[in-house]
């Protein structure tokens, strides 16, 4: 990957009505990178994007673009374009005129506008839609127009603010692939905002996990998934069992009343830590063969696997297994050393990773409220 820094955020703070939204945030974005700002609603990801777009000015800190400070540059003089959350297509213009809008503003010759818009329509698979009114397009089509409208100006950076959140699941998957392809073809830097961790992992070169106006972790999708730095990241990215543990010495950790071998080191002797075990990394074995023993309290069939909740000495684990076990059964759990990830204690310790109150309905409900809050 090209390592040239294109955008540098330096100590950005921002608050709305005295409510801090961004807290001394610093971030470097490289040229031709697909970077995703990921976090729950209210974590500051959209504000970060809007500061880069020029729609908000930071209270403190600097924004550099190509080495130049652009804090006070209005949006229309920045070399970035945005794909807005609800598309923001101009209702009084048809598809062609929407896409041609930026070129017309910059007074490009008609012939050039025509060919460029045509190219863009081909790129987003909307050939022949030139004369259609935007109100007659489906959500996915509007989305494509919005992307074309931004890309046609050949910006250095494309900002995408939860662009797929209004689409249904199937369409969202298709558009994810399409966006990834477009980014490859055009070589434009994409800064992508989403609260959907799956989307972030599957599309990005770099993922920036945010919470409480601060960056929690920056890394490649595999790093973020395999080596979360704290309980928040571990819980937000995928499913995690997070238990209190104690690092007896390098490569030996004690949790749930059992001493495990592990692959992490570099902690103080007897340091209290958070231990992360992904549900898919736990093997179900006979009760006497396991390192831990627990009672199955819930079983949900998920298609590929079963999701079972296991009570191990009062702590509820979530485990994904392809073998059926019945509710009420006592089973043994076996965990390989490389499935155990050790994290330092943080402000998020003890807040996540226990499945005692878990239910699918709750999860869905919280998704809905999240979407409502975004509006």
């Amino acid at each position: 990957m090209n390592k040239e820094v294109l955008i540098r955020l330096n100590g950005i703070s921002k608050s709305f009505d005295g409510e801090p939204v961004l807290d001394n945030l610093s971030l470097e974005i490289h040229d031709k990178e697909f970077i995703t700002l990921l976090g729950p609603s209210g974590c500051g990801k959209t504000t970060t994007l809007r500061i880069i777009g020029g729609f908000e000015t930071p209270d403190a800190g600097d924004v550099f673009f190509d080495g130049k400070r652009i804090n006070d540059l209005p949006p229309y003089q920045r070399q970035v374009n945005t794909v807005f959350q609800r598309y923001a297509l101009f209702p009084h213009l048809n598809v062609f005129d929407n896409i041609a809008f930026g070129l017309r503003i910059h007074k490009r010759p008609d012939a050039e506008i025509k060919t460029k818009v045509k190219e863009m329509l081909a790129l987003v698979n909307l050939k022949g839609f030139e004369r259609r009114r935007v109100s007659t397009l489906s959500g996915g089509q509007q989305q494509r127009v919005a992307i074309a409208r931004a890309l046609v100006n050949q910006p250095k950076v494309l900002l995408l603010d939860e662009p797929l959140s209004a689409l249904d699941l199937k369409l969202r998957k298709d558009m994810q692939n399409e966006l990834k392809n477009i980014q490859h073809q055009t070589g434009i830097t994409f800064i992508y905002v989403t609260h959907d961790q799956e989307e972030a992992l599957s599309m990005s070169d770099t993922v920036v996990v945010m919470e409480n106006g601060r960056i929690q972790q920056i890394g490649t999708p595999t790093d973020i998934y395999n080596e979360p730095v704290n309980a928040f990241v571990a819980d937000f990215i995928g499913e995690s069992n997070i238990v209190d543990g104690m690092m007896l010495e390098d490569y030996r950790v004690k949790f749930s009343g059992h001493v495990f071998d592990c692959v992490d080191g570099g902690f103080a002797k007897n340091e209290l830590v958070d231990v992360v075990v992904r549900p898919e990394d736990v093997d179900v074995v006979a009760p006497d063969k396991g390192m831990l023993k627990g009672l199955v309290t819930g079983v949900t069939f998920k298609g590929v696997h079963y999701e079972i909740i296991v009570d191990v000495a009062g702590f509820k684990w979530m485990i994904q297994t392809t073998d059926f076990v019945a509710e009420g059964e006592t089973i043994g759990l076996s965990i390989d050393p490389d499935a155990i990830h050790i994290m330092k204690k943080s402000e998020f310790s003890g807040m996540f990773g226990d499945y005692s109150s878990f239910s699918d309905e709750l999860e869905k409900l919280s998704d809905v409220t999240e979407e409502l809050e975004e509006e």
Partner: protein
């Protein structure tokens, strides 16, 4: 119950329209009587147009209505824009509140207060005969303003804020954004504000009564003068003509509106058909 409510509606509308129908009927009455219809005649219509005064008043009314509604729409639209954008809620409320004063105040107070302004300023500047077209224009623009703001402001508030940002994002300056994106999406509000101003201006009598001079008479002022002392049947003819014109306009607007609607609906249906296929 259903019958009773129909009967009630019918009765009230009958009472509402009876006087108007009487005026229309008796404007064609041969004799100058209000109780006996003696025969059909267009005499009063000829009488009405015998001197050019009625036509002159009509011309004045139209000039005034066009000018004042255009000015009010221009200023009011910009005002609505700045009110919708204003950061402080207090300023928003203040600006709206002040411009609503002529709407809340009885017309007579607005008329009297503007008359005092014009006369007062003229007194200070030692001018004579200040009242006339210009004072009428200022007054009409003033009472039109709140109606323009009232119909445009909600459009600004309903407008997707992302549209503005999208325009800025694509390289529009704030001024370009206003004219290319915001204005087109608030256009329905602007048009209805313009139409409302136009009709209010045509219709106004009370405020005009205080800020006008005999040299510049609008249609309502003309009617008032003509009917001040006696019943004039040529005024019945004039009223009939005005009612017919208003009726024709109302019908035209409604027909055009519903025709436009159905055409739009067809278009959308067609487009949906394409996308389904």
């Amino acid at each position: 119950m259903k019958f009773l409510s129909k009967f009630y509606i019918g009765l009230i509308f009958l009472i509402l329209y009876a006087p108007i129908l009487v005026v229309i009927l008796f404007s064609f009455n041969e004799s100058g009587s209000l109780s006996h219809f003696s025969g059909f005649s267009l005499y009063w219509y000829k009488e009405l147009f015998r001197d050019g005064e009625a036509l002159e008043a009509l011309k004045n009314s139209l000039i005034l209505a066009v000018a004042s509604s255009l000015i009010a729409t221009l200023i009011g639209t910009l005002a609505a824009f700045s009110i919708a954008r204003a950061k402080s809620k207090r300023y928003q409320r203040l600006a709206e509140g002040v411009s609503n004063i002529p709407m809340m105040n009885p017309d007579i107070v607005t008329g009297v207060s503007m008359m005092l302004l014009f006369v007062g300023v003229a007194g200070i500047l030692k001018l004579e005969n200040t009242l006339g077209f210009w004072t009428m224009l200022l007054a009409h623009t003033t009472f039109n303003l709140p109606y323009v703001i009232l119909s445009v402001l909600p459009k600004f508030r309903q407008m997707d804020k992302n549209l503005t940002e999208a325009a800025l994002d694509l390289g529009c300056t704030p001024a370009q954004t206003f004219f290319r994106v915001e204005l087109p999406s608030i256009l329905p509000g602007v048009v209805s504000g313009l139409m409302m101003s136009f009709t209010l201006s045509l219709d106004d009598f009370v405020i005009s009564h205080f800020v006008s001079s005999p040299d510049f008479k609008t249609l309502p002022l003309y009617i008032y003068n003509q009917t001040a002392h006696e019943v004039k049947f040529s005024m019945y003819a004039l009223c009939t003509l005005i009612i017919v014109v208003i009726l024709a306009l109302l019908i035209a607007v409604n027909v055009a509106g519903s025709a436009g609607d159905s055409r739009m609906r067809k278009k959308v249906k067609k487009a949906q058909g394409v996308s389904v296929r």
